[in-house]
Amino acid sequence: MQVERHETDLLILGSGGAGLFAGLHAHAANPDLDITVAVKGLLGKCGCTRMVQGGYNVALAPEDSVERHFMDTIEGGKWLNNQELAWTLVTVAVERIQELENELGCFFDRNPDGTIHQKAFAGQSFDRTVHKGDLTGIEIISRLMEQVWARRINRLEEHRAVELVRGRGEDRISGALLVDMRTGEFRFVRAKAVLLATGGGPTMYRYHTPSGDKTCDGMAMALRLGLRLRDMEMVQFHPTGLLAGVDTRMTGTVLEEGLRGAGGYLLGGDGERFMGRYDPRNERATRDIVSRAIYAEMRQGNVTPNGGVYIQMSHLGPDEVRRQFKGMVERCADCGFDLASGLVEVVPTAHYMMGGVEFGPDTSTGVPGLFAAGEDTGGVHGANRLGGNGVANSTVFGGIAGDVIPGWIARAGSAPEPDPDVIDAAVDRCLAPFGKPATDFHAIRDRLADLMWDKVGIMRTAEGIREAMRELEGMARELETTGLPATTRAFNLTWHDRMNLESLVMVSRSIAAAALAREDSRGAHFREDFPETSDLSTSTYTAVRLQNAALEVTNEPVAFTHVRPGQSLIDNTGRPLAKAGE
């Protein structure tokens, strides 16, 4: 098989907030550096940064502090966070938001007096979320995208990465094998450094929010490379995804959090509110609690025609709903639903993966020359991500990667020659389906979605997870024997669907393995057989690694490098302790 060769200094995989920030910062650090952004869709258009509705958490106000943002992040993460990463997040976010506004030209909403507006967002003790209406992600990614277009940064659009490749006989990365999706040809891009910034996206669940191109390819490649993934059991479910049946891609997409915040009701199939039975805050309880309550109602059969619950806004006045939630009302109307005055079916939907590749505050990984940032990584958010910390994470660490990598390249020098055996094996794996009898592998994808939803979803038991692990292994074997029709490889979505499914099965196995290993409940992970949160001061995190085709899980102690459970960096008025005595 012919594999084209391409050379670059820095290869960035992914074009969300992490990838594009890395490109801009690396270019600024060394304008002579040859930088290539490779992405599965169109630059800046696929992926999830663009889909951010909420905003960007950052401590800017005089009454707020990075210490306070840090404590909210750690308490939200149920003390599982890598505290160095979380500290980096909250401190660098200040400079990053100013860069977004001052250097990239983002339009963030203002107060009437001209100062920046910061809104309230769930789980935070201070109103610190900078935003552009409820379309903050579009603003951030559009401004990043046009700045990248304006620079000498190479773009390989509709190029999907299929393997990270080390140097021959070396530990250091040599580059990545890509498929040019438009031609179906393979292209090896040799690079002095590679940034893994493809994003996560738990699309292996029946109901999910991320962009349709997201299939955990980065994490699957990291596992095959031998890297450890941490906190993989931590999958965040958003309580209100649109539910419109299995035949539409609309199903699973998010109806925003603000609907509940504004006073929206959730009704069971019987037409009655049910949240009062689960939490005194009713519909305004946190994402995890509302998701579990809806799931419990669904299991009891108190469901709508499509098997979910209803959200009702009409009691707030249809005109008011239309005014306050214009985007959501229009989106529902385009799809045939009346959010302002009718009932809309909703269901909890898989939204974000807190887990991912273990990495350091300088974005380095266990493989020299391979860096990682964004949702591909784990440790920043711990057991739960605060709304508004996601795009902060990708832009903070993407920018750091761009700051650090040019210096690393200058020290490390030219890229090693790739291990040809790894390239050959990857090409064979990608092409294997074409030689086999074509079968309907979409049915396997449907089974995967049901299995993860039922057994490794919102509520879990050891028995269910073990059953899922057995079935996932069976699916992996079944996939090996299912083929594809012998059609062109050029823009062959069905071939890519098939590769997507391989990534999803692999990463689902790591989620299940980590979920079995965590025998307590905290954050996004709820074990019906271990419903209590264990002692925080002896917290451990899970780390999954692929070893001889089997997944190995270890429990690693959390290092409380800034603050220990029971302590705080702020006093009870929210002021930093160091400053409290001033």
């Binding site: 001052n102 250097e103 304006a150 979505l493 069905t494």
Partner: protein, 240 residues
């Protein structure tokens, strides 16, 4: 509708010199044009090429020509556009066809760059954010155009682009207009200069197709009219 209702769907196959192929797709209560295309790929012809990403009108990847009009396929309900159970789905106009329903959007993005559709900073990441009156005339003008998601629908709808492939087109000019009105931008005259030439704002014939078809209800025609006015004013003052 009954479970047995079937849509007759003509889909463009091949490149620029391709042709339509007819498929029969079951009609559903909740079904977008993207769902129809997905059904064809998953059930009828695995080789069908199309592009989509976000599924909810945020990314601007899935626009196609549906019954002759440019539309986001993810947010277009079949019942709003099907005529007598018939649909015709083709790639967007004014862009090279890669295959089937996929176009090469590179020329469209390149024009955004040529219109200098990117911010020129006047402050750095170490400075506090500028105070901006959200009700000022300029901020309001910029705000009205800023939510463009660069889906290319206006560009595909524009007859001037069809006649003159050098014309920058509505989306790039709309972005330029937001920058010309951005008091934080350090080179507003530069943005005007970039759109003042023959292929710039003055090439617009005010057909208003861009504003008619913009799924975000933006008004590029008004933005272009603003640019025409401002470039003339600047030229008269010798500022361009």
């Amino acid at each position: 509708m009954s479970e047995n209702d079937t849509l007759s769907v003509d889909i463009w196959r091949g490149g620029e010199d391709g042709s339509f192929q007819t498929f029969h797709v079951p009609q559903r209560d909740h079904q977008t044009i993207l769902d129809v295309v997905t059904y064809v790929q998953k059930k009828l012809d695995p080789a069908l090429a199309y592009r989509f990403a976000c599924r909810v009108g945020m990314c601007g990847s899935c626009a196609m020509t549906v019954n002759g009009e440019p539309r986001w396929t993810c947010r277009t309900h079949v019942s709003r556009v099907a005529r007598d159970g018939k649909l015709t789905i083709a790639p967007l106009r004014n862009m090279p066809v890669i295959r089937d329903l996929v176009t090469d959007m590179t020329p469209f993005f390149e024009k955004w760059r040529r219109a200098t559709g990117s911010f020129v900073p006047s402050a750095t990441r170490h400075d506090p954010m500028a105070s901006v009156d959200p009700a000022s005339a300029e901020r309001t003008a910029a705000d009205e155009g800023i939510e463009c998601i660069n889906c290319g629908i206006c560009y595909a709808a524009c007859d001037v682009v069809a006649w003159n492939l050098d014309y920058l087109g509505p989306a790039a000019l709309n972005r330029a207009w937001t920058l010309v009105n951005d008091e934080r931008d350090a080179d507003r005259t530069g943005h005007l200069r970039a759109v003042a030439g023959d292929a710039g704002c003055h090439a617009c014939h005010t057909h208003q197709s861009c504003s008619t078809y913009c799924p975000k209800a933006l008004n590029p025609t008004a933005a272009i009219a603003g640019l025409k006015r401002r470039t003339v004013e600047a030229a008269l003052k010798g500022g361009l």
